[in-house]
Symmetry: C2
Subunit: 386 residues, 2 copies
Amino acid sequence: MQQAGTASSHSEYKSFFKNCNRLQFFFQKMLLLFVTATITMAEQKEITIYDIAKHLNISATTVSRGLKNHPTINKNTRRKIADAAKELGYRSNTFASSLRSKRTQTIGVIVPRLNSNFMSSVLAGMEDAASREHYNLIITQSLEKREKEKANAHTMYNKRVDGLLISLAYDTENISHLHPFFAKGIPVVFFDRTYNHSESTSVLIDNFKAAYEVTKHLLEQGCKRIMHLGGNMLRDVYSERLRGYKTALQDHKIPFDEKLIYISNLNEEAGSDAAKHILKMKPNKRPDGVFSANDTAAVHCMIHLKTAGIRIPEDIAFAGFNNDPISKVIEPNLTTVNYSGYHVGEVAVMNLIGHLKGLSSTKTTNRIVLRADLVVRESSLKNKSL
Amino acid sequence: MQQAGTASSHSEYKSFFKNCNRLQFFFQKMLLLFVTATITMAEQKEITIYDIAKHLNISATTVSRGLKNHPTINKNTRRKIADAAKELGYRSNTFASSLRSKRTQTIGVIVPRLNSNFMSSVLAGMEDAASREHYNLIITQSLEKREKEKANAHTMYNKRVDGLLISLAYDTENISHLHPFFAKGIPVVFFDRTYNHSESTSVLIDNFKAAYEVTKHLLEQGCKRIMHLGGNMLRDVYSERLRGYKTALQDHKIPFDEKLIYISNLNEEAGSDAAKHILKMKPNKRPDGVFSANDTAAVHCMIHLKTAGIRIPEDIAFAGFNNDPISKVIEPNLTTVNYSGYHVGEVAVMNLIGHLKGLSSTKTTNRIVLRADLVVRESSLKNKSL
DNA sequence: GACTTTTATGCAACCGATTGCAACATGAAG
DNA sequence: CTTCATGTTGCAATCGGTTGCATAAAAGTC
């Protein structure tokens, strides 16, 4: 391109100044300078399969096939092609390839927030699995806004991702923004914050069971009035945890008390606020146990209560969810639910790639439920008999 | 594709069974069924600019220009094109576009690990900034291995990212694997774990100064023997922190003692190990202050020492680095250095996009140094006069 | 009214890999 | 010696936008 431009301006100037020797000489010199500079600076031209073909005196078709080890190409030819590619410094052009083959080897990922401990583990797992299968990840965050989630989905759609992995934003009520994917048959896998949809798989943990186990554990420790710090109920993650809590109470014949449910966004501040809320209650109405739907809220609630002189677990036992690093730092150490975000990510990707390879259909596997284990630590041990 | 395949099997079967009417009839019926099913299931054909062009009786060129609001296209025409695009359900084909224009609107990101608190903030900042400028992020992790970093860089290169953002792996000594980028003039921006390279920008904090401030603070609290928990010295992040530590000692006329340097990978276990190391020292040889190059190691060192009966800060004062959430949970709260990963990510992306837009050259801006502030908490307050 | 400038649109050649089908060589079978 | 299977390779069309250059129409200038 650059060279073409140069050549044309060269002929132009030549015809224009053909009777002016002085100027012609000057311009010629300038031109030479310019061209030299251009060539020096210019990245050497991109090597294509055509260059390799010419170099080996074979067709581009053969090169294309040879490069991806197509079985109909002679092994010897294949080796020669590979060698030439390396020698010439060939790099494949993903676009040309994707344009023609309509496959992108790219998976779109939409998460509510990138900067959460759990989510970054999930992403690490995803990246690991995807990279093993030679897929790339395009990652975006919705910042918990349905509108941004929608915009992100649209970009992914335009970028022709082979599949989509999504954990829904807080305020996403319906998934109409994903319809284009379903319409085009692009597989969608939900993880963590899932949505029940007949045509796609969900990868999640058994939140109900884990919450049930936590609550049961607190009850067995002698708690009678357990408070629950819950998250947004639009997301089944949190509604399932609440359900597990309720069911455990019921099975232990403890009446459910609406006043002991505290819904928030479960961040640090919300944890402190919950503590203030507890302190405002009459001492005899206070809970003797707290089950928080995440560790952050639990820990910051504990910190606030401790400074107010509440003893943990003697006065109030605590249990969280996630097994966040802070749960091992707070004193007393926090009882929590451990589950591997890394594993969630890995499984979600493997499942998606399975669909893409046609190994499994999105319709048959509807949900994949991963293990989650109760980790008992001092924060919940009222009768110290671990 | 599907149709072509069908057609071929059709002719095959025809020649094969041409004298067997019964079977032929049966197969024809099957074929019809199959084709019908295929057509029903098939996603409706993709809409292209040519479809829009035909629909409006104008040329594809005009549509192409109209869609990206090229000023030479009449406003009225532009509107009509936009309307038609929406009506027909057009989605642009990024590949075709990238193939021709050689721009991808994609930035490659290589980080050592995705699942770290700091890194996920950085990514959040990057995603935010990139998304504002309509760029997408392809994110990979090197898992601290030079080999994987190299492979990732190569993929990015093939994927024709417009620019590269990279934080180097622990064991990366040279950046020969990035040469293709430099050779092609693709801008590279280092962040956090940087490398001094004449043709690219580095975004980082002033590790030297921050470490100096931390050490100075500990000295002012009366510490005489400050231990330093450091990281891999191949990375300037850690070597600069060590340098800041050393210089502060020197400025306060405290002799530098090689034995008080403890190098590790700074994870939880390394923190505990450092504590064990301290406990093994003769009491009069023990440090009276610890400056750790990250919070994780500091906190886990503290936990271990506390169980051994060491008082913090009375016996040993502590300071960390990062302002990790755990620093606010440990008791006593950890003095640390606060700096915004989010901001680092944002700045790195903005700078890269600046280069891409030709606003700034990679060569002029060599390093961007961001603020980092000492956050004093109880862990370092020997003379309680905050 | 002739001529230049501005504005708006279209032509056609790309970009680089993929793929259905044809074609060729070789050797085996009949 | 023909026929056919098998293994290799190439032709040429295709994917869907982009862009330099030409052109046509409208507006402005003298």
